[in-house]
Symmetry: C2
Amino acid sequence: MTERKPTPSGVRGAADRLAGQVTRTPLLPLDHGGRRYWVKAECLQQGGSFKLRGATNRLTQLGEAERARGVVAFSSGNHAQGVALAARRLGIAAAIVMPSDAPKVKVEATRAAGAEIIFYDRATESREEIGARLAAERGATLVPSFDDVDVIEGQGSVGVEIEAQLGHAPERLLVPCGGGGLAAGIALALPETSVKIVEPEGWDDMARSLAAGRIVPVEEPAPPTRCDALQTKRVSPFTFGALMEAGARGVAVGEADIEVAMAFAFAKLRIVAEPGGAVALAALLSGKAGEVPDGSVVVVSGGNVDPALYAEILRAAPTS
Amino acid sequence: MTERKPTPSGVRGAADRLAGQVTRTPLLPLDHGGRRYWVKAECLQQGGSFKLRGATNRLTQLGEAERARGVVAFSSGNHAQGVALAARRLGIAAAIVMPSDAPKVKVEATRAAGAEIIFYDRATESREEIGARLAAERGATLVPSFDDVDVIEGQGSVGVEIEAQLGHAPERLLVPCGGGGLAAGIALALPETSVKIVEPEGWDDMARSLAAGRIVPVEEPAPPTRCDALQTKRVSPFTFGALMEAGARGVAVGEADIEVAMAFAFAKLRIVAEPGGAVALAALLSGKAGEVPDGSVVVVSGGNVDPALYAEILRAAPTS
């Protein structure tokens, strides 16, 4: 193990490596409150979230012997799909440890991408232990969902694309945060940009960590949330460190804010946003992000959501 | 009036004119049946459909005096929004004649874009007469939804973008067809591409016209369809002519095929497709387009749909 940390130049290298292997997702204009914002629609990425970026950046750098022994990952679903897709393209066997209550669409898509799935019980079992044991038994490489330099640098390619698409770095950027891989990667890519990370209420450990200047975990018991992709109980020194150095701050949004944002994404942007993917948009629309300057970028990070849930939200939420 | 016809060079000129004024919508990869296709997601265009392109191309070419007298259009909704948005940006007053049964989302969005709305009864009144009368009274310019050289050339910018994004013209392209403005513009932009136009069953007058070698109207009574955007009873000599010269052919899809395609767009592409916008995708998925070669492009032309209808379709349709 080296002591390498994720760096801006590592992010640039990842972006070069990923060009042509991932979708260059669009920046969609969003007119709101008399201002124009830009939505980076990463829900349109292959696999339905930004996770293909980090997984591809990690897997393409494995040696021949490592590839032959396969990879293992644990994930509620988006990282699972990212790793499964990246592995299939490279001809690498992938085993994914998923919670038994993961959204059906995410389980099906991971299986469809050719991965072996091992279920665990979120309440009684440790996915970290199961993943570590599997990796040891098989000699396989464990691909962490955010606590990994290559993964973080791969996610940062989102920031490189945003700068290229706008023609300049945005003044402000709002981004969903679970473990913080995407947010940290973007902060490294865009050092001039003020990054605001967004989490669900009660799961705002990154925001509290940034305010405290040290990593603090989610306070138990954490409230229920529909944001399955953001239920991370402790962030990584890599992600915390990059965001702390960037001077990032965080804000939390409620479940009702998220439903309004999902309905807005559907009706005004014509994109499908999953709950965890919609939190940054929710922070903008609810006003909880405070004053957001004209030209700011909002990342919608994923769109893997059970259609039945979306249908329920579309029926319940205001359409305008 | 000149005798000018829409031309490939006119389409190129329109594409140059529109650069930066419309969203360069993404080409999203779609893996299906062991092949990779590309979806041109024009539902992500501003205003939710390709219509902003033709409207902007037409309106930017009006003189100062014409701009001052305003514009008039009739439309069930997508052209309405395209004209309203383009007019607002140019500081031109827009009056839109809409059927009283137009989807609520389309009426609201047209009003939100600052246009004056005049409703008419689809069963008893003629929108052409109302539009012509309004234009005459006000000295305003009538902006047709498809029977217009500048409008067709503007829509053709979709084809110019596709070629630039792929790096070459696709062998085959499937595109929804109402009046045929989008299909004709694309055929002019991509003369080497085999264009297949797709219509709802019973509304396949362009397909029958192309087969007959002359314009034939929709046979009355036409069956009900959810494709409000494609209920055009007779195509234009401009659109028919361009598609005839290109050797285009057509195919029709049923309402059930369209619902499956809308659910697929949601779950696999994470985009919102309205019924009329999803017909080309429906032709691919249902097999009704026949053998579609690897690398072909499918246009999803619009995403303005009442959330309640989508919710109903998501509940009813298979999700995989």
